[in-house]
Amino acid sequence: MATLPLYAQFINLFAAFLLLLAFAMLAQRRVLSLINLFAMQGFALAVSTAIVAYGTHQSHLYWSAGLTLVLKVLLLPWLLHRLIRQLDVKWDVEGLINIPTTMLVGIVLVVFSFNLALPIAQLSHTVTRATLGIAMASVMLSFLMMITRRKAIPQVVGFLAMENGLFFAATSATYGMPMVVELGIALDVLVGMIILGVFFFQIREQFDSLDLKHLETLKENE
């Protein structure tokens, strides 16, 4: 391990950042901070992608890094901020489960993911293979976050954070997917976000709130 090239060590550092940010988002109560954290996570992702590109001379990863930067750090947070301003929803984010418990579960998930990723990572010839576990863990944490949030916007942020984790997995484990796929994914994310934005307005118009408790009428257990 000690013989890792410098850039790889940097990648590992940013990977750790990513995980840390994921935890931070899990613990964050305020929606604005949540978005900021998300933007930071995007930034970490973009930087680590760029470093991978630099270290492995995969030029298309630069594109990928740029895309991430534009989309995840600039565009989406901006969109979210705008939404919050327009919708005037700056409430605290209240979880369904209290934060310490969530964190504990998160730690368990991290252990689990590392365990799962370890045998696979051994197979990889990339220098960044150790980060696969981190990527998986951040996906899981985002998942957990989506489960525990009861408002629409944090849930969407969780969803986007999950995409971050996936991107990170793609970058770190395989030096990125083919460009056409990456573009497609990015497009999907963007369009999805726009649709979600429209949705927020519609939901608020309909229910006067973005609380997900209004969205619990279609069920079978009356």
């Binding site: 369904l96 689990f112 365990n115 799962l116 998942f143 957990l144 989506m146 489960i147 525990t148 949030r149 009861r150 849930q155 997900l212 969205l215 619990e216 009428t217 279609l218 069920k219 079978e220 257990n221």
Partner: protein
Amino acid sequence: MSDNALGLVIAAVVAWIVIGALGLVRPRELRFVSHLLFPLGAAVGLALAVVAFFALGQLPQSTVLPLGLPDLPFHLRLDSLSAFFLLLLGAVGAAISVFAAGYFRSGEGAAPGLLCFEYHLFLAAMALVLVADDAYLFMVSWEAMALSSFFLVTTDHRIPEIRQAGFLYLLIAHVGAIAILLCFGVLQGGSGDYTFGSMRSMVLTGAWPSVAFFLALFGFGAKAGLLPMHVWLPEAHPAAPSPVSALMSGVMLKTAIYGFLRVTFDLLQGQLWWWGVIALVLGLATALFGVIFACVQSDMKRLLAYSSIENIGIIVAGIGLTILFKSYGKTLLAAITLTAVLYHALNHAFFKSLLFLATGSVLHATHERSLGKLGGLIHRMPWVAWLALVGTLAIAGLPPLNGFVSEWLLLQAFLFTPSLPQSFVNMLVPLAAGALVLAVALSAYVMVKFYGIIFLGRPRESNLAYAKDAGWFERAALSFLALGCVVLGIFPVNVIAMLDPVNAMLIGSTALHADSGNWLLLTPINADRASYSPLIVLIGIVAVVLLTAQVVHRLYHGRVRRAPPWDCGFPLQTPRMQDTAEGFGQPIREVFDAVFRIERQLPSPFDTAPKYAVKVGDHLWHWLYLPLARGADALGRLVGMIQQGRISVYLTYSFFTLLALLFFVR
């Protein structure tokens, strides 16, 4: 003709389908449908019967149609077993079609043309069931049969009870069909070849044969109305128009018997003795159950429906006995029993159709199904009444009519049982014989009630005075069936000779003793053991009757005076003083109190209009079906808990599924 019998059968099927489709061309044209298409269908049926008659005992013929699955085109085969049941279908179906020609009226439920379509599809499907030689075609025609009959049952779909009945029928039929399908799944033995030919050569090992047998018993039993899957039958039969009830009771139930025989004796290689015991016990339980319930019915078609349950029970008991004999290698006895089974199936087809059709005529003449509102129709509808009398006596198992012959044969078979090696079975069989006799004796009770209350006595309602006798189509159909009852009753030796190819095919032995060439005397084993000659009995009775009448009239006189009835001098007599249907069944209700679930509505002393009502329910419905329905409902509620509306919970499912799988894969 017999060279290409199968081709002719196919032609008949196609003809029926075409006739049905023609009905859709002008669905509201009653005369076209009833006076042209139905008689045409009857002619096809008769032709089919003739073809089948000549195909009995011929070598099996088979063919393949370019339809069906790519690796499994429709295989058809006509052997003696199929031919026998085709004969039954053709003959009885023809009579019912003739009846239907006079029966269906416009303005009653569905359009006549649509009915004609469904009706002929029903016939065609039944014929196809009988000649199917692969599991796929069998199932397709089997379910087509269920479906077409379902639509026929719900002809009058505006009445919720009829819809309910239809639903129950189709549900049980469908569940039964799935069981049959699974049975074929077992029988194909993993070969992936669903032709019956392949199944015949497949030797199943371990518990598989038993699994197949019980799936078949369940599946075909559901269709036949075997306990405890009988509940649909007393609902569906009364709901259907009478020709349809007749067809269902007379013919469709027999296709279930056919299927059961086909699987048990043809497709399965060997039979185990305890299968026979179970079938025997189940059959007798069904028979007793059916007849006891028939005793207390007050709707004439329900009564007949329960009687059908009884007869099916007798038939299945006979099959059980056949299995028992065959598994012990007593082929001669097995052949006798099987003969009794087939004979009874044929008899039941004739007399039950006859009676159902008769109820149809009564229904049309009086618009009344409740026994409590009928009576005295022998004066208004002599044709129907006298022909129904034949059916009544036949179904009551009285010599010299046909019902007695098959029961006689079956009892003979019971008597020969002590030659079996298993002492347990030897003990069981006398009890079984007792149960059978009890059922037969009770059926006489039922039929006296049925006939006496509908046709005899005085009309219980004033509007019965306007009842008209059936039309010529209906009379012809009823006469044909009544004649069938008489002929089948009087010439048993010839009938059994006709059945023998089936025995030879399924059992490997014939029922008739080789050297009993006497057409007059039915002697299954030898003349010392047992013999019966209905013709001589008939001649004996008729001779005595005629002779007595002659002698009495000659020696004394034949003067008759008509006067009001005496009735022990009671001055006021109204028709309401006759026994009602409930009253007639009351002793049986008392004796078998435990079998029924009786709900009484008693008047209180303060009622201004006191009312008494009694409802006889089925324990099985309350102990088996309602709990099943409730169980399903409770399970549904339980399962409904997972769909509880909150998105976090849904995400959690997804999350835990993922985690669990990941954990598992690790």
